[in-house]
Amino acid sequence: MIEAVGLTKRYGAKTAVYDLSFRVRPGVVTGFLGPNGSGKSTTMRMILGLDQPSAGHVTIGGHPFRQLPNAPRQVGALLDAKAVHGGRSARSHLLSLAQLAGIPAQRVDEVLGVVGLQDVAKRRSKGFSLGMGQRLGIAAALLGDPQVLLFDEPVNGLDPEGILWVRNLMKKLAAEGRTVFVSSHLMSEMALTADHLIVIGRGQLLADMSVKDFISANSADFARVRTPGTEPAQREKLTTVLTEAGGQVLSEPDGALRVTGLPLPRISDLAHDADVRLWELSPHQASLEEAYMRLTQGAVDYRSTDDRLAHLQPPLQPGQPGYGVPQQPSVQDVPQQGWYAPPPPGQNPYATAPQAPGHAPAPAPAPGPYAPQAAPRPSDTPKDAR
């Protein structure tokens, strides 16, 4: 059990982590997500007592890390795969760590076998590939057979086979009753590995919920409705009917309608009652990756220069193509601007953990559900549905 309370870290004027409170439970894999520079590694270092929090505290099993009795037997960590002396062989590296922690030397050969490095154990780690380095780091984390495991970006540089291996290893470790805390900036990877998610952006908690809740809370479901293109009047009619019934309707560039807030059977019934024929009525779900990007869009520290230029350009007139997406000029009917501007504090419905368990907000219940919805690649939206 890892418990952080009001964790804050300032480096001079820059606040890396601000008022972060969360709990990591044993028995499940907890994913720790956030864009680059969002404070994941800083938080990990504070958990391990390497950095002193500016405010707040974090405990493992009720003790701060540096006061833990037998810390290396209780906590194992992979912080940085390159955090080894390159001139030392893999085995010597692990042996020195085992000796430091009072772990029997034969355990070194065991973990080398677990991570599949037994054949290169005598080689200097300088020549290791990124993937081999990750395996060596994971071996060091497993050395003490600890109850709490922290992994910072464990799949970086691993091949698909290695990624699968890490995924299964995490699940196996959690199934044994351990606390497994894995950071990543890859939502897709976490969706497959983790049971619970803690999402931060700019050092602040954005979400703390199960993966299932996260998906339902953040992926915007919508229905695509297409009326016969030959009869624009039917389209107008249906829009009015659906809006009156409480749905939100937006026009897609090819004439289709994007409807939220109404279940598919209800849309069909309404259309039937209004005597409107439908050429298409299909369910769509934004991918988890997009949900995550939307959630963290306001909290991304490092953007490409193209984006920055977009910010510097004079404000666009309404009706003009959206920010810097000239290659898709026809999508303006579905508002795009939302994903550039972070929602004002307090207005992001996902900025805090849900207050009532199991009471996840229905897809897009609030007014203006599309404001933060549109993803950077709007044309991909339907196809990416998982």
Binding site: R23, G49, N70, R73, Q99, L100, P146, D195, S210, A353
Partner: protein, 278 residues
């Protein structure tokens, strides 16, 4: 806590318990670990190898030149020649001392180390002990062998027991203490090249600066530098009387000065290591 309490997030009924017997790690474990670390990198072998080579080649070379010289040594002993090997050896010791800790900072290994042992003082103590004993042993053995050869080669006064002790154990202890000072500076600066530069500067610059202090107004500073610069202290280690002027260190006193300096700086290193983020 506001996180949803779904059944699948309830703590597992039995927290994981490792089958490996748990025992409290202590300083002995840290010493074993540091010994593994220091002997498993090539930089140790290189610096110590170069140091041994320099001490032997220069020691024997100087002795050979002195032996072939017509001039009598009078009351001098041949042990004083040890200084010429000790000076270059000290550069190797400085390098090794700094690298012992700064390489961990350079590679990031320090974070792995301090995760495996949250007691930072224990890590630094283990490093200091292992490094001191290694350098002390190697330099004492080499200095003794070189001193034996020098005394055998050169026709000079017979050294006393105290002189023998200072030229062997004293040399080893002085170099190891200088190494400890480097280790402490490396801990404080946390950067190999920076710390080595500082230490080389500390070793050589005072003498170089003193050489060019021609002004009478700076006379006292010049004298102080000539007396207390590290190479001067090394010469004083071989001499029963202060070699430069009336006062100043002689005999075992340079060792006390270096040991005291290293202890003070090491204490600062402990305090910084404990309080700083790594």
């Amino acid at each position: 806590m506001t996180a949803p309490a779904h059944p699948q997030h309830a703590p597992a009924p039995h927290a994981y318990v490792s089958p490996i017997p748990v025992r409290r790690a202590h300083l002995g474990d840290a010493l074993a670990s540091e010994w593994t670390k220091i002997r498993s990198v090539r930089s140790t072998m290189w610096t110590l190898g170069v140091m041994i080579l320099l001490m032997v080649v220069i020691g024997l070379g100087v002795a050979a030149i002195a032996a072939s010289s017509e001039v009598s040594m009078d009351e001098e002993t041949a042990l004083g020649f040890g200084f010429f090997g000790m000076l270059p050896a000290s550069i190797c010791v400085i390098t090794l001392g700094v690298l012992t800790i700064a390489s961990e900072y350079g590679t990031g290994m320090i974070r792995t180390t301090l995760t495996a042992c949250p007691s930072r003082a224990r890590v630094l103590t283990a490093k200091a002990i292992v490094f001191f004993l290694l350098v002390f042993t190697v330099t004492t053995v080499v200095a003794t062998l070189v001193a034996l050869a020098q005394v055998a080669l050169v026709d000079a006064a017979e050294p006393s027991a105290d002189e023998w002790l200072r030229a062997t154990v004293g040399t080893g202890a002085y170099l190891a203490a200088l190494g400890l000072l480097s280790l402490a500076i490396g801990t404080i600066i946390r950067h190999s090249a920076g710390a080595i530069t500082v230490m080389i500067g500390l070793l050589l610059l005072p003498l170089v600066a003193a050489l060019f202090m021609f002004s009478v107004a700076l006379k006292s500073v010049q004298e102080w530098l000539f007396t207390y610069a590290i190479p001067s202290q090394m010469i004083a280690l071989y001499s029963a009387q202060p070699p430069f002027g009336e006062d100043g260190p002689a005999g075992w006193e340079p060792l006390l000065i270096m040991g005291g300096t290293a202890a003070v700086v090491l204490a600062g290193a402990y305090a910084l290591l404990n309080s700083r983020d790594v």
